[in-house]
């Protein structure tokens, strides 16, 4: 999901999925994050970021 807005105080970020739906995501495990980053989100919690080297 792509980060739209960060609420660092509450450890949450407003994120947007590929299909367009938005959700509030817990970012405690990947902080700090910035708007525009792509996160891997499971059960409302960001587990990692899709920022490394792409495969092909």
């Amino acid at each position: 999901m792509r980060v739209l807005e960060v609420d660092a105080e509450r450890g949450l970020a407003l994120c947007c999925a590929q299909a367009g739906e938005r959700a509030s995501v817990e970012i405690g495990l990947v902080e700090p994050v910035t708007a525009g980053e792509l996160l891997l989100v499971h059960a409302g919690t960001a587990l990692g970021r899709a920022g490394g080297e792409p495969g092909p």
């Binding site: 792509l38 059960a43 919690t45 587990l47 990692g48 899709a50 490394g52 092909p56």
Partner: protein, 371 residues
């Protein structure tokens, strides 16, 4: 979108498929297990196996969170849902998982307050909005969902939310893989490793596969091209007589995992000495319970649950599907008595279950092939 579209490129897919054909030895049959239900879903959805030569067989593994929950555990959840004053929360997939006499959906129809949540944090929110009620969250899943439960419990403690508790049924991926490799009825050549679990635990926990069993493993992403590339990487290792852990999904999976997640999980959870898996029986140290420090939020401490072991229905062959011993369509009740609308077994419930994935996508390709 970058990171997605390029991994669904059909032309690139055919190029990799050609490289796979070049990498296999004719006359040798390869069995590669995709551990994770997310991979199984993609394989059927995108017809990945249609691109593979006939001597490369993908075997579906036990990594579908809903599929592995035993019937007795579903009954425990239903018993909690029927407790007076309880709001019972769970992921949507759990609603239709059959218990011994009913599902959570039936319990809801009988008047139990069962609510679907997208994350455990939503359950905590419900608890804060309903201080006069007890809110229980049915936590399931591998190391991908356990961090979310752990963070939620930390929040519950920090905010002193006393009317919230978790029925913890989180499981871990390594012990069932070990159990599968020890079982005599399955011969596997290599593994497609679970990319999302590895985002949390890293690649290192899979090192036992090459070190102790001589099996190659490639941690893989979930797009069709990811899976094809990972199959190719496994085949190339086999061709070179090598066995090691490789990370095809390096754009997401750091080698060491998410250390912060591991730390929080170690604080909030403890290993259970053993846990029953649907169709696989009891596996030692394969599941998590709430740690003593968080016992106050443990639903099994707060309420009494039946905890009765219930045998799977006779017709159900989910155990064999989860072990990769049979394909979904080889189960006698597949598509007849057992469908996604009226499932008998768990593998037909979740989109990550091999039977549901095959029922929804794969059977059409197979019907074309057979016709």
């Amino acid at each position: 979108m970058k990171f997605v579209d390029e991994f669904r490129d059909a032309e690139l897919g055919r190029v990799v498929a050609g490289e796979i054909v070049a990498a296999v030895e004719p006359g040798r049959h390869y069995k590669v297990m995709e551990v994770c239900g997310g991979h199984t879903h993609s394989i059927y959805k995108y017809g990945v196996d249609d691109l593979l030569p006939s001597n490369v067989e993908l075997v579906h593994g036990p990594g579908c969170p809903v599929c592995v929950i035993p019937m007795g555990r579903v009954d425990d959840g239903i018993a909690l849902a029927h407790e007076p004053g309880v709001i019972f929360t769970c992921f949507g997939d759990m609603l239709r998982v059959p218990g011994s006499s009913q599902t959570l959906l039936d319990a809801k129809a009988d008047g139990a307050d069962v609510r679907i949540v997208y994350s455990p944090l939503d359950a905590l929110r419900i608890a804060k909005q309903n201080p006069e009620r007890e809110v229980v969250f049915f936590a399931i899943g591998f190391e991908t969902t356990a961090p979310s439960t752990a963070l939620t419990l930390r929040r519950a403690r920090a905010e002193s939310v006393g009317n919230f508790s978790v029925m913890c049924s989180h499981v871990t991926i390594v012990p069932p893989l070990r159990a599968l490799l020890e079982s005599p009825d399955l011969r596997l050549d290599g593994f497609i490793g679970p990319g999302h679990v590895a985002t949390v635990v890293g690649a290192r926990p899979f090192q036992f596969l090459p070190d102790q069993y001589g099996k190659p493993v490639v941690i893989s992403g979930f797009e069709p091209l990811d899976i094809l590339q990972s199959v190719l990487m496994v085949l190339r290792q086999l061709g070179a007589g090598r066995a090691t852990v490789e990370n095809q999904y390096a754009r997401v999976v750091p080698w060491e995992g998410n250390l912060r997640a591991l730390e929080i999980m170690a604080e909030v959870f403890a290993l259970r000495p053993h846990f029953e898996w649907r169709g696989l029986g009891f596996i030692s140290q394969s599941a998590l319970r709430i740690s003593d420090a968080y016992a106050e939020w443990d639903a099994e401490e707060r309420f009494s649950v039946p905890g009765v072991r219930v045998a799977d229905p006779k017709a159900c062959q989910c155990g064999e599907v989860l072990k990769g011993v049979i394909k979904p369509w080889e189960c006698k009740v597949f598509g007849t008595a057992c469908t996604p609308e009226r499932p008998i077994g768990t593998c037909m419930v979740s989109p990550e279950g091999a039977c549901a994935a095959y029922y929804n996508y794969g059977r059409f390709a197979r019907e074309r092939e057979v016709a």
